[in-house]
C-alpha cells in the first residue's frame, strides 16, 4: 500500500480533506476557522514532510523505544468495581446504564 507515487507530502489540506478528518475524529470546525486551520495544517505537513527524504531503506519501523516483550497477566478476577464512583457524573447515567441519544439501527 505504498502511496508515495499517488500523492506528494506537504500537499494542501483542502476543505474536503478536513471534512473527512473531522468526520473520522468526530470534531466539528466552524466555517470561520477553516482557513486558519488549513493554513496551520499545511505548515505542519510541510514540517513533517521533511521525513520524506530520510534514508530509511532497510530500517524497521520502531513502535517502542525499548526492545522487550509483553508481560502476561494470570487469569485472576478482582472484584473491586465501584459503579457509583465510576459513575460520579450522574448526568450521564440512568439506572446504572450510560445513556446517549437514541441510536437508529
Amino acid at each position: 500500500m505504498d502511496t508515495t507515487d499517488s500523492h506528494h507530502l506537504g500537499k494542501i489540506m483542502d476543505k474536503n480533506t478536513i471534512k473527512k478528518l473531522t468526520y473520522l475524529s468526530k470534531l466539528s470546525i466552524p466555517e470561520s476557522d477553516i482557513d486558519e486551520l488549513s493554513k496551520n495544517l499545511d505548515n505542519i505537513l510541510k514540517l513533517i514532510g521533511e521525513i520524506d527524504a530520510a534514508p530509511t531503506d532497510g530500517m524497521l519501523p520502531m513502535a517502542h523505544p525499548l526492545d522487550f516483550t509483553q508481560p502476561l497477566r494470570d487469569d485472576v478476577c478482582q472484584k473491586n468495581i465501584n459503579r457509583d464512583a465510576n459513575q460520579h457524573d450522574s448526568s450521564k447515567t440512568k439506572d446504572g446504564y450510560y445513556t446517549v441519544p437514541k441510536i437508529l439501527d
Partner: protein
C-alpha cells in the same frame, strides 16, 4: 449456473475468568456496568495488561486446526467511535495474529473437503447498546466490554450453505472440545458473519456482501440461502451486487442492508503502543500441545476402533462434545452392544432432546440409565420397543428406569416353559387358524404372536416366542 462462494468470520468468546486486558469478571448476566472496571470503562490514564490464558487458548485453537503459531504477535488498535466501545478503539490484531495458515477437513454428504483458515486473532469484545429501554435514549451496558474473543477467518472455500454450516459446527465442536469456549450461541459466545458472493465457475470472485451476526446454525443456513437467492436474482436480471454489510432478520427470513453508519470508515489500524509484542516460544507451544484434549477427528477414529461403530454414527457422535460425552459415559456401563447403544442415543435420546429443545448434556435421563436400558435389551429382559417406552416415561416423570419397569411389570417373559404353556393354550383355542396355517397361510404367525402378547400384556420375549410357536406348529 452460478457457483456460491462463502467465507466465514467466526467470533468465539473465550472461557477465561477475567477479561482480555483487565481483571474484571467475564460472567454473563450481571447487573449493568457492575463488571466494567476503570480499565473497561476507558477511564483517563488506564492501561491494558494481557491475559495469559487467552493467549494460550488461541494457541490451543491454532494447534487444533493445524495452523502456524506466530513466534511474535502484535496487538493493534482499530479506531472508530461507538458508545459500546469505550476507548474509541478496539484492541485487536492486524499484522502478525497469534494463529495463521490453518485448515479444517469437513464431510458433506459423504464427500470430504478442506477449508482453509486464514487466521485467528485475539481481540476484545464491545459492550452492549440497548435501544428499547428508555424513551429517546439508548442505554449502554459495558459489562461485556473487554471480554476476550478469537476471530476465526476462513478462506472463501465453501460452496454451499450446507458446507458453511458443517464447517461452522465443526469449529463449534472444536472450541467446545478444547474447553476454550462454552459455545453458547444464545448468549453470544459464538457468533458468525458470512461473506457471500456468486460467480460463474472458473471466473474471478464476484462482489460480496457481508451478513452480520448470525447467531444460530439454522439461521446461518437460512441467511445464506436467502442471500444466494437475492444475489442470483440481481445477477440474472443483469444487475450488480453491492459490496455492503447486511443484517439477517430471522423473523422475516431475509437480509437487509445495515443503515450505512460506516460511511467512509477508515479504521486506522496501528500497533497499540500500550502493549508490547507478545513472544510465543516453542516450549510454550509444545507444553500446550501436550495438554491438548482429544479432538473430534481423533475421537471419531477411536469410536470406530474401540466400539466398532459405523463411520457415519461415529462422525455424528464425535462432532459434539456433549453428545460424545453422553455416549462414552453410557458405553462405560454396558459390556457390549455399542452399536445398539449408539443407535438408541442417536435416534431416541437425541430425538427427545431436539423435541424438547434441550442440550443433551441437560437430558433428564442420565447416560447411566440409558446404559441400563440397553443392557436389559441385550439380556432380553425387555424389548427394544419397551426400552423406548421406558425412556419416554423416564424423560417425562424423571423416574428411574428400574422403578418404571418394576411398577409396570414390563419385564419380558423369557421362560420357555411359561411361554410354551401360553402358546399351547392359544393354539388349542384356535384350531381353525392352526389348520389354515398348516395349509400355507404363513401370515397367521403374526396372529398367534399377537394373541400370546395379548395374554401376557406384551411381556413375552418376541424372539423366544417365535421359536416356540414355530416348534409347536411345525413339530406337530
Amino acid at each position: 449456473m452460478w457457483e456460491t462462494v462463502i467465507g466465514l468470520e467466526i467470533h468465539v468468546q473465550l472461557a477465561t475468568d477475567s477479561k482480555l486486558f483487565s481483571s474484571s469478571s467475564t460472567n454473563f448476566g450481571s447487573e449493568q456496568n457492575t463488571q466494567a472496571s476503570i480499565i473497561d470503562l476507558a477511564m483517563p490514564g488506564v492501561l491494558p495488561v494481557l491475559n495469559k490464558k487467552a493467549v494460550n487458548m488461541a494457541i490451543m485453537f491454532g494447534l487444533a486446526v493445524d495452523a502456524k503459531i506466530a513466534d511474535k504477535s502484535i496487538f493493534a488498535r482499530k479506531n472508530y467511535f461507538y458508545p459500546d466501545l469505550p476507548k474509541g478503539y478496539q484492541i485487536s490484531q492486524y499484522e502478525l495474529p497469534v494463529v495463521y495458515d490453518g485448515k479444517l477437513e469437513i464431510n458433506v454428504e459423504g464427500k470430504s473437503k478442506t477449508v482453509g483458515i486464514t487466521r485467528a486473532h485475539l481481540e476484545e469484545d464491545a459492550g452492549k447498546s440497548i435501544h428499547d429501554l428508555f424513551d429517546g435514549e439508548s442505554a449502554i451496558d459495558l459489562n461485556r466490554a473487554g471480554t476476550p474473543l478469537i476471530e476465526i477467518v476462513s478462506e472463501p472455500d465453501m460452496r454451499s450453505a450446507k458446507e458453511a454450516v458443517t464447517y461452522l459446527k465443526k469449529i463449534h465442536s472444536i472450541v467446545k472440545s478444547l474447553g476454550i469456549s462454552d459455545g453458547n450461541m444464545e448468549e453470544g459466545s459464538f457468533r458468525c458473519d458470512a461473506n457471500i458472493s456468486l460467480r460463474k465457475p472458473g471466473e474471478d470472485f464476484g462482489i460480496r456482501a457481508e451478513i452480520k451476526n448470525i447467531n444460530s446454525f439454522r439461521f446461518v443456513e437460512n441467511a445464506i440461502n436467502y442471500e444466494v437467492g437475492r444475489q442470483q436474482d440481481i445477477l440474472e436480471s443483469g444487475g450488480a451486487v453491492n459490496q455492503e454489510t447486511r443484517l439477517y432478520d430471522p423473523k422475516k427470513d431475509e437480509t437487509r442492508p445495515m443503515r450505512s453508519k460506516e460511511e467512509a470508515n477508515d479504521y486506522r489500524y496501528f500497533p497499540d503502543p500500550d502493549l508490547l509484542p507478545v513472544e510465543i516460544t516453542e516450549k510454550q507451544i509444545s507444553e500446550i500441545k501436550k495438554s491438548l484434549p482429544e479432538l473430534p477427528d481423533a475421537k471419531k477414529e477411536r469410536f470406530i476402533e474401540e466400539y466398532g461403530l459405523k463411520n457415519a454414527d461415529a462422525e455424528i457422535l464425535s462432532s459434539s462434545l456433549d453428545l460424545s460425552e453422553y455416549f462414552e459415559k453410557a458405553s462405560s456401563n454396558v459390556s457390549s452392544k455399542f452399536q445398539l447403544l449408539a443407535n438408541f442415543i442417536l435416534s431416541e435420546v437425541v430425538g427427545l432432546s431436539n423435541k424438547h429443545n434441550l442440550d443433551i448434556s441437560k437430558a433428564p435421563v442420565s447416560s447411566e440409565e440409558v446404559a441400563k436400558l440397553i443392557t436389559y435389551v441385550s439380556d432380553e429382559k425387555i424389548s427394544i420397543k419397551q426400552a423406548k417406552e421406558v425412556l419416554n416415561e423416564s424423560w417425562q416423570n424423571k423416574t428411574d428406569v428400574d422403578e418404571i419397569i418394576k411398577s409396570k411389570s414390563i419385564e419380558q417373559i423369557s421362560n420357555i416353559d411359561l411361554l410354551s404353556d401360553e402358546a399351547k393354550k392359544i393354539l388349542e383355542k384356535h384350531p381353525k387358524e392352526v389348520q389354515d396355517y398348516k395349509n400355507g397361510k404363513d401370515k397367521l404367525m403374526g396372529f398367534f404372536v399377537g394373541q400370546v402378547m395379548k395374554e401376557t400384556q406384551g411381556k413375552a420375549n418376541p424372539k423366544a416366542l417365535n421359536q416356540i410357536l414355530n416348534k409347536l406348529l411345525k413339530g406337530e
